[in-house]
């Protein structure tokens, strides 16, 4: 009996040394993961040439002052594919200026913004599960503590955006709602 209890204690706590060992490889918060997806996707998306008429900047628009906004502050000013990253919260500016638009949730406001950029070369990203059906291009979700994203290439192509096969190979891809087999 005592032996069993001792064994139980050991089994419970035997891994303490493992735990106290070196730092884990990277433990992100949800907001950081979403920001990382936004930033990284920009590397794998090709915008049409006319989207950069306003100078060498890559504009990320975040709808509402979301925690994602704060997480993105770390990449403000960095250079991606030769363009400087600028991150702002979306206001009433001309939507032409955005290259990437993040809409946390597809409520009335989110739907309005999605409609505003429809057809324009703006990469739209959201967490909302209905996003792709609503015309959005990329949906970010979390499955068992890992970030996953889904891409609707039909919606992206109609807006003039090209997503590289590298990014497509890492995501669940649909074309206008139909899953694309790879």
């Amino acid at each position: 009996m005592a032996v069993l209890k001792a064994t139980a204690a050991i089994v419970f706590f035997a891994a303490l040394p493992l735990v106290s060992a070196q730092a884990p490889p990277g433990n992100l918060t949800e907001a950081q993961a979403k920001a990382a997806v936004l930033y990284n996707l920009a590397l794998f998306v090709q915008w049409p040439a006319e989207a950069f008429d306003n100078g060498g900047k890559l504009h990320f628009g975040i709808l509402r002052a979301d925690p994602v906004m704060r997480a993105m502050s770390g990449v403000e000013g960095r250079v991606v594919n030769g363009r400087t990253v600028k991150v702002r919260t979306v206001g009433s500016e001309d939507v032409q200026s955005w290259h990437v638009l993040y809409i946390p949730e597809l409520d009335r406001e989110g739907q309005t913004w999605l409609d505003k950029v429809s057809g324009k070369p703006v990469l739209t990203v959201s967490d909302d599960e209905r996003f792709l059906r609503a015309g959005g291009m990329i949906r970010v979700s979390f499955v068992e503590s890992r970030v996953r994203f889904e891409i609707d290439i039909g919606n992206a192509e109609r807006a003039g955006l090209k997503i590289s096969s590298k990014a497509l190979s890492l995501a669940r891809v649909v074309r206008d709602g139909r899953p694309v087999k790879r």
Partner: protein, 664 residues
């Protein structure tokens, strides 16, 4: 005692060791996409955020909780939830309740599966052996202790368990799992999901469970093995952006054994003996639901379900059938109000076999239940919200009932919340309480005339009522530490107990004196308790959960002319605690351990026990995982409950099993 000290000191040491390490900041620009997909993300899901703000004692079991518990049955899984009492009675039966009054047919807990109520109107309890889900297929289980929000109805006095299975949309592809060992000899399950056109998904599943016998008090086999085979389908169709349609159906068949106390016929005398009974198990259900979600705050759903089951209960055949139709509508009113209302109609039919000396009178019945509810969640201040609601029910048994609730949640800071609630809950008497007739014994008096002792239901019993006062507090002092405390005080009225009376009866002949113990309302009482949960995640590799429950019930029964509460005698431990450790080893392997302490059951002389379950699991190949589980490791056998209601108790055994899952 020394074991507890050892545990405590080890915990303290690990606390000191790990708190010394700082968190490394993450450079987003340095993370590439492939690596990003492999990293662990600390998600505070919408659900968790909701839980933090909810003015109720909520606990959510995620699919990770389910997988890492090593449990192979739903009741075993529920052991980790603070405030629930789970005790195994025999190889295929469990007593599960929240906040007291446990029993084979614990009746103060409402269990829903995907919105479908699964309790039986005959006993007001749940047949846990029929809730034999593929545990890998459960998305999450939400447990609310206390009278569920007014959206659920009578019988949700002390808790609501809502089991949600995975949608077909997230169950795409194939999945097979095989588990073998003891006490569950074999559990084989398979699932396959695919798409239907561009907006639909389907899922098919099948499962076979074989549970082995446990042992009786002498160590001999108890004849309580069980075997169940089931299969089902689930289809989801999305129409446009807001509409979705879900259909599910399932059928189950099997057999289980138990030892029961049966009357043996003998002219004019009733003798009782233990027999080994086998019961066929047959159950089917179908459910359809249409949901329209306009936005986060508005939408409605309409749902209909049918279920049917046949089995033997204490060796008597029982058939039940349910048809239910309900709708719910949710909409915002202005900026501050979130309004939900709903209505539903349910029909029940039941029929029981009539056996010598034990039967329901009448043997079959129909019940019609109408329910409606309203609930308004008001945002009084950005940090305070108030939920007010009520359920209204009318049923053919107990007439009209109103169950109001008022709840307030206050979030003084982003990391703390506190809540208070007052509610009134009702429980409708079961068929057994209204109609069961059992001749317990017959013995002769001094001159040889028979005296019959019998236990009788009473068709005149009414609803039980409870007033529930609850409060809770949650705090996250640091990102890695969380405490959740819930406390309650219940006042019980009109509880159904047993009242004695003597009568001279002429049927069935010969004329005899009957000593009758009859069900009657009239027992009152109070209960108090606390449920404390602590969660500590010092690193991304290790999470430690601890919880403690305290429960005290006082029933007042020794008043002349009032029924006594012996049949309600508390079969609940005063103290329970649990410790769970989740450890991530290398290469995706995990070591998970659970320790459960259940205090002594005074009323039925069951000693306290400590239970330890350990699981080691991880990937062995791409798409194949292996896990090895040891359960009840500390003792070869132990008792968890008592036998009553005619079923004999078996002892729970130490066991080990291995499980392989394959995804394709």
């Amino acid at each position: 005692m020394r074991f507890q000290l050892l545990t405590a000191s080890l915990l303290l040491l690990s606390a000191l060791a790990t708190s010394a390490r700082a968190q490394d900041p993450v450079d987003l620009a340095a993370v590439n996409l492939e690596d990003l997909l492999k990293m662990e993300v600390r998600t505070v899901s919408k659900k968790e955020q909701q839980v933090f703000r909810t003015p109720a004692a909520v606990y959510v079991l995620t699919s990770e909780d389910i997988r890492r518990s090593g449990a192979s049955s739903l009741p075993d899984l529920l052991r980790v939830v603070p405030g629930l009492q789970v005790a195994q009675i025999d190889g295929n039966k469990w007593a599960v309740t929240a906040r007291g009054f446990n029993g084979l047919w614990a009746n103060k807990l409402l269990v829903l599966v995907n919105g479908r109520a699964v309790y039986t109107p005959v006993s007001s309890g749940v047949y846990w052996d029929l809730q034999d889900f593929m545990l890998d297929d459960i998305e999450r289980i939400e447990v609310v202790r206390g009278p569920g929000a007014a959206v659920w109805g009578a019988n949700a006095v002390n808790g609501v368990i809502n089991i949600m299975t995975r949608s077909a949309e997230v169950s795409q592809g194939g999945f097979v799992s095989v588990r073998t060992g003891t006490p569950d000899n074999a559990i084989v399950a398979a699932r396959y999901g695919g798409t239907l056109g561009s907006q639909g998904y389907y899922k098919l599943y099948a499962k076979h469970t074989q549970r082995a016998e446990l042992v009786d008090d002498t160590g001999a086999d108890a004849g309580d093995d069980a075997s169940i085979t089931q299969g089902g389908v689930r289809v989801e169709l999305n129409a446009g952006l807001s509409d979705s349609f879900t259909f599910e159906a399932s059928a189950m068949t099997g057999e289980s054994g138990e030892r029961v106390n049966e009357p043996i016929t003998s002219y004019a005398f009733v003798e009782r003996s233990m027999i080994e009974a086998r019961s066929p198990l047959d159950s089917q259900f179908a459910l359809a639901r249409w949901t329209r979600n306009k936005s986060q705050r508005s939408g409605f759903s309409v749902q209909a379900f049918w279920d049917h089951s046949y089995r033997l209960v204490i060796d008597k055949g029982e058939t039940t059938q349910t048809v239910d139709l309900e709708l719910q509508h949710r909409f915002p009113l202005g900026r501050r109000h979130d309004f939900v209302w709903g209505a539903g109609q349910r029909f029940w039919w039941d029929e029981e076999e009539v056996k010598f000396a034990e039967y329901l009178d009448p043997p079959s019945s129909r019940m019609r239940l109408f329910n409606a509810f309203v609930q308004d969640e008001v945002s009084l201040l950005p940090t305070v919200n108030l939920t007010v609601g009520s359920k209204f029910e009318h049923n053919t048994v107990a007439g009209f009932e109103v169950q109001p609730t008022a709840r307030v949640a206050w979030l003084p800071t982003a990391r703390q919340s506190t809540w208070f609630a007052v509610s009134r809950a009702a429980r409708t008497p079961s068929r057994i309480e209204r109609a069961l007739h059992v001749d317990v014994a017959v013995f002769p008096d001094e001159i040889g005339r028979p005296i019959v002792m019998s236990l009788r239901g009473n068709p005149a019993v009414q609803n039980e009522h409870t007033t529930v006062y609850e409060a809770g507090y949650r705090i996250e002092p640091t990102r890695s530490l969380m405490f959740d405390l819930a406390a309650f005080h219940n006042r019980y009225d009109d509880l159904i107990g047993l009242r004695e009376r003597t009568a001279f009866e002429t049927t069935p002949g010969p004329p005899h004196v009957s000593l009758i113990q009859e069900r009657a309302n009239g027992v009152t009482g109070e209960s108090e308790g606390i449920e404390l949960l602590a969660r500590w995640q010092p690193s991304s590799r290790w999470r430690l959960d601890g919880s403690y429950d305290f429960l005290r019930i006082r029933l007042h029964d020794f008043r002349p002319g009032q029924p006594d509460a012996i049949s309600l005698a508390s079969r609940n431990p005063t103290h329970q605690w649990r410790v769970r450790s989740w450890l991530s080893l290398t290469r995706g392997w995990q070591l998970d351990s659970n320790l459960f302490y259940t205090g002594r059951l005074e009323a039925v002389d069951v000693p306290s026990y400590l239970r330890a379950d350990v699981r080691v699991g991880g990937p062995v190949m791409r798409n194949v995982t292996l896990s090895v589980v040891g359960q009840n490791l500390l003792e070869p056998t132990h008792r968890e409950f008592d036998g009553f209601e005619g079923v004999y108790l078996s002892q729970v055994r130490r066991g080990g099993s291995a499980k392989v899952t394959i995804t394709f």
